[in-house]
Symmetry: C2
Subunit: 249 residues, 2 copies
Amino acid sequence: MVEATRSMPRWRQIADELRDRIRAGQYKSGFPGELDLAAEFSVSRGTARAALRPLREAGLISASPGRRSQITQIDPASQYGAIYSLHDLIVSSGMKHRSTVLQQHLTADPAATEQLGTPVGEPLFHLARLRHADDQPVAFDEVFSPSSVAAPLIEVDFSDAPFYRELRVRCGVTVQGGSEQIQAVPAGDRFAELLACAPETPLLLVERLACSNGQTVEYRRTYFLGDRFRVARPFGSSSPNGPCGPDLL
Amino acid sequence: MVEATRSMPRWRQIADELRDRIRAGQYKSGFPGELDLAAEFSVSRGTARAALRPLREAGLISASPGRRSQITQIDPASQYGAIYSLHDLIVSSGMKHRSTVLQQHLTADPAATEQLGTPVGEPLFHLARLRHADDQPVAFDEVFSPSSVAAPLIEVDFSDAPFYRELRVRCGVTVQGGSEQIQAVPAGDRFAELLACAPETPLLLVERLACSNGQTVEYRRTYFLGDRFRVARPFGSSSPNGPCGPDLL
DNA sequence: CAGTAGCAAATGTACATACATTTGGTTGCC
DNA sequence: GGCAACCAAATGTATGTACATTTGCTACTG
């Protein structure tokens, strides 16, 4: 499953490679230009440009005519949506991250099965974590993933490991995109106890469907403490090749 | 102010034109293909393709190889972010929309001035509305816009008029994009009374900065009743020319 | 030494072309 | 009538080219 139906398009391979390099701290002083990338990967400038596009949409780099692309120094507190990793967000905010694993097993959640669109019989890998920043609970996080994809994760120690990294390293699946739905809900008795707040405290509930190569690989529900998180997102028509994200304002 | 620094790129002109046509209900049976558009607007296929991109990102149309683009029949309840008009959202949900205008004047809000980045002396057009769906309050909405842009709106009847339409028609300004920040907050006494809910009811607070031709033209705060609204958004790397939005899942 | 004019580099826009892949319909056979 | 093979149309990917526009640096001039 989840093998590339075809080989991924060249621009996406390059985009993934570049994103990994940026995250790895390479390019600390100077990001290559379009022509440099075209030469390095032996593709045309158009393809190199296409690879840069998702990075700009994610706010990782910014570009203007006349100068090379530059790595954007982002304010982590307003970038949850873009970097889509709570682990990275907390760590890059200078806080200490820790997760309490509440559940990590195979299960058969009907609602999650329907969201994922997997066959009814197939079990789901289920990971429920309480997320702490500097030893204070800030969010409750619940992930469902088809066992055909995520089975190797059953014995991973998730007390301080980003889910998407383990998914990539151990399952060979790189999350490429998806969609989210955001609601405001009261904590209620269950989350009030977990998050150490009052039952009527507003929480930001983010439901996420993530996919890789056309297959839905994750259904996630995250409950954020409303007073500690905000979600940023761009909207409207971005330019097909022009500036986007931070550059827009 | 807000005149195009240059003429807008061709692909953006075409994109705006197509979006207007779709909204006007044209193309009810059949959306033209890339080659048709290229012929109609006398541009290359690449430019026509670039024009279609923002429409796909907004979820207005969907495309796949081998068949023409099709207008997406969207579920309005999950598309607030995409169509970014609460008026349209309510109406297209089959409900009756009505606004109670609470304030409509020129003011000098320091916070909004800072957000907009306008000179400190310049007054701001300020519109505060209580939004009703089928005569039930569902949201409180507050707009700030530089008077140099929005002055003509001072005498408009906003009890049932979409703000962006008036901005376009009377001020010649078309909102092209921007960014939002989403939080969960308790209603508090003020909004509890306005929205007829308990003070601890969770609200979805959406702060929006919208711009047109590089100028920030709107700062908006909207408080949604948490149990009646959810916000949808795509995330992750979209393909530079490939499918996006609904197609991704 | 400061200010400006000019130049080179890089991105933004647009075009033309070629081929691959997918979809949908048509044709023809059984 | 149903099924399969084929074919045409449309989108997806990729390359190459050309020119406009912006940025940043350099060199020249007052």
